[in-house]
């Protein structure tokens, strides 16, 4: 009896967060059906689904998603990788911090989107410009959090590691990196969110493929359903990236009771 109750309780808890979105969808669908909402302003959910199915069936949708995802991950890999590397260096070596940190903090205050005119002049409107913008936007989130993470590793643990004969790379691997990891992952999650924002802007400026291209194209032909589909796709991809980051946290920070469940 109690296990049955437990099951119902869990099912209800699982369902609860979805009640509001489902309700909104129902109201939306109904208002479109009854003609309260013009299809030009907001197409009904079913139309969006239909547009998705059609585009998916023709393979066009996957093409766009693939291009966008590749663009985002490449830009992220470049910017995030550089941010991680420089953060590790300035965090670990006081001299490098003095030499580089002021410059980086100055550049950090430039909004990436303010660079768009310059980036177009430099790289034209092709792929490099988009990758540059994404990498630039992502870089600082990872850099700042990595630097901070390295600096906030408990000095008592580093001292312990040294007194147990660790130095150089082993000390880094056993003590410093794991100690900085939770902060680094915060940076990665933040950077992933930022990555999509910049991708959207970069793709709507000019593109020959990608979700942004698809929606801009659809706008020209007044295909509101496809525009909406594009927006939804961004949401889904953003959520997926976030889930991936959470999985990394669970896996790498499972020793921390705030993540994972211990053992």
């Amino acid at each position: 009896m109690s296990t049955r109750n437990g099951f119902l309780q869990r099912a209800w808890n699982g369902l609860l967060p979805w009640l509001v979105p489902i309700g909104i969808l129902l109201v939306w669908e109904a208002s479109a059906r009854f003609g309260w909402l013009s299809v030009r302003i907001l197409p009904e959910p079913v139309a969006v689904v239909k547009a998705g199915v059609t585009l998916a069936a023709s393979g066009e949708l996957w093409q766009h998603v693939k291009v966008s995802a590749l663009r985002a991950t490449t830009g992220f890999a470049i910017g995030g990788g550089l941010g991680l590397l420089l953060g590790l260096l300035t965090g670990s070596f006081r001299k490098l911090e003095i030499a580089l940190d002021t410059t980086l903090q100055m550049i950090r205050n430039i909004p990436p989107l303010a660079l768009i005119p310059l980036v177009i002049l430099w790289f034209g409107i092709d792929e490099t410009a988009k990758l540059f913008l994404i990498a630039f936007g992502v870089f600082f989130a990872v850099y700042v959090n990595t630097f901070h993470g390295i600096r906030s590793v408990d000095p008592a643990l580093i001292e312990m590691g040294k007194s147990y004969g660790l130095s150089g790379w082993p000390l880094y691997r056993e003590v410093i990196l794991p100690g900085a990891l939770s902060s680094i992952l915060v940076g990665v999650r933040y950077a992933l969110g930022f990555m999509w924002v910049i991708l959207i802007v970069a793709e709507t400026i000019s593109a020959q493929a990608g979700i942004g291209y698809m929606t801009m194209n659809a706008r020209e032909f007044l295909q509101t359903d496809v525009v909406l589909l594009g927006i939804l796709l961004y949401a889904v991809l953003g959520k997926l990236a976030d889930v991936a980051a959470r999985l990394l946290e669970r896996r790498w920070l499972k020793w921390n009771t705030a993540y994972g469940n211990g053992i």
């Binding site: 643990l157 590691g161 660790l166 053992i263």
Partner: protein, 327 residues
């Protein structure tokens, strides 16, 4: 590099058949900026001895231990281990800190095996063996934050033991534990020390702990050794025993006498007047130097009542003394 020298020393130790390191400290000086903590300290410790260092906080006992561990550089004087410079044998010295300092992102057994190199299965076997010695073999694969304070210190002890140290330094490792766990841990440390026969230096503020464990008790006051007492009680020692209690009270008394005869900023006197007010009260003390007034919280006076004519010791910090030249 490190591993090689300690391996070599292990062979040397096996040849010499003395697992413990002999310590020779000569005119050891340590300054932190302007402040001098150790004033030319001399100390010899025999191989295999368990020496307890007691003293008030800030007296320099932890500084001495950190110098022995090679965590800080001495400002002057020298430390010899078995007659060699400290650096050569530092791989044979291990430290247990007041907080266990376990890596929270490594499991218990990974913490114990920290800094060891070699085949994985062999390391795991060795780590399990030392964990068994401290009674925690069944917790090997758990995270440190699942353990109690006492268990964490036992893991820290295992982590030190796996290196087969010839000198084990203990910096108030039991300070944060409850009374019962403390006595348990003292027994464990004693048993392991007798088994492995390393030299051990224990810093503690607990005189009864020093009496329970040490061959020799040193009192450090103001960066100097002011008491050196050899303990000749049979082991294992029981806290309730009469001899134990007698020695403990003797050391405590000596500790207090030494504080009393140390005339620096301490004046013995008699209470001649107590003026009680709502918040602050004034206690007047007649000393050889004249009348001294002490302002105390009325609340603390209520908690620790003073009587007229009671003998008290007035102490004050040296940086609070104002000097004026007399015309």
């Amino acid at each position: 590099m490190n591993i090689d020298t300690s391996e070599l020393n292990r062979v040397k130790a096996a040849v010499a058949e003395t697992p413990g390191l002999r310590i020779g400290i000569g005119r050891l000086i340590k300054r932190f900026g302007e402040r001098q903590v150790l004033h030319g300290l001399d100390l010899d410790i025999d191989a295999g001895q368990l020496v307890a260092i007691v003293g008030r906080s800030g007296c320099g006992k932890s500084t001495l231990l950190r110098l022995l561990a090679g965590l800080d550089e001495a400002s002057g004087g020298d430390i010899l281990l078995d007659g060699h410079a400290e650096r050569d044998l530092i791989g044979d010295v291990r430290m247990m800190f007041q907080d266990a300092r376990l890596l929270p992102w490594r499991t218990v057994i990974q913490n114990v095996a920290l800094g060891l190199t070699g085949p994985k299965t062999e390391i795991r076997e060795r780590a399990l063996a030392v964990l068994a010695q401290v009674g925690l073999a069944d917790r090997a694969d758990e995270w440190p934050n699942r353990l109690s304070g006492g268990q964490r210190q036992r893991v820290a002890l295992a982590r030190a033991l796996i290196h087969r140290p010839r000198l084990l330094l203990l910096d108030e490792p039991l300070g944060a534990l409850d009374a019962l766990t403390r006595i348990e841990m003292q027994r464990l440390i004693e048993q392991i020390w007798r088994q492995h026969q390393f030299t051990a230096v224990l810093v503690t503020h607990d005189v009864s702990e020093a009496v329970a464990l040490a061959d020799r008790i040193l009192l450090i006051e103001d960066g100097r050794i002011t008491l050196d007492e050899t303990v000749q009680l049979a082991r294992p020692r029981e806290h309730g025993e009469a001899q134990f209690a007698r020695l403990e009270s003797r050391v405590l008394k000596r500790l207090m006498t030494i504080e009393a005869i140390n005339s620096r900023n301490q004046i013995l006197g008699k209470v001649t007047g107590i003026l009680v007010d709502s918040v602050l009260s004034e206690v007047q003390i007649l000393t050889e130097a004249g009348l001294v007034a002490a302002t105390v919280l009325t609340r603390s006076l209520a908690e620790q009542p003073l009587e007229l004519g009671a003998e008290v010791l007035a102490t004050f910090k040296s940086n609070e003394v104002v000097l004026a030249t007399t015309a």
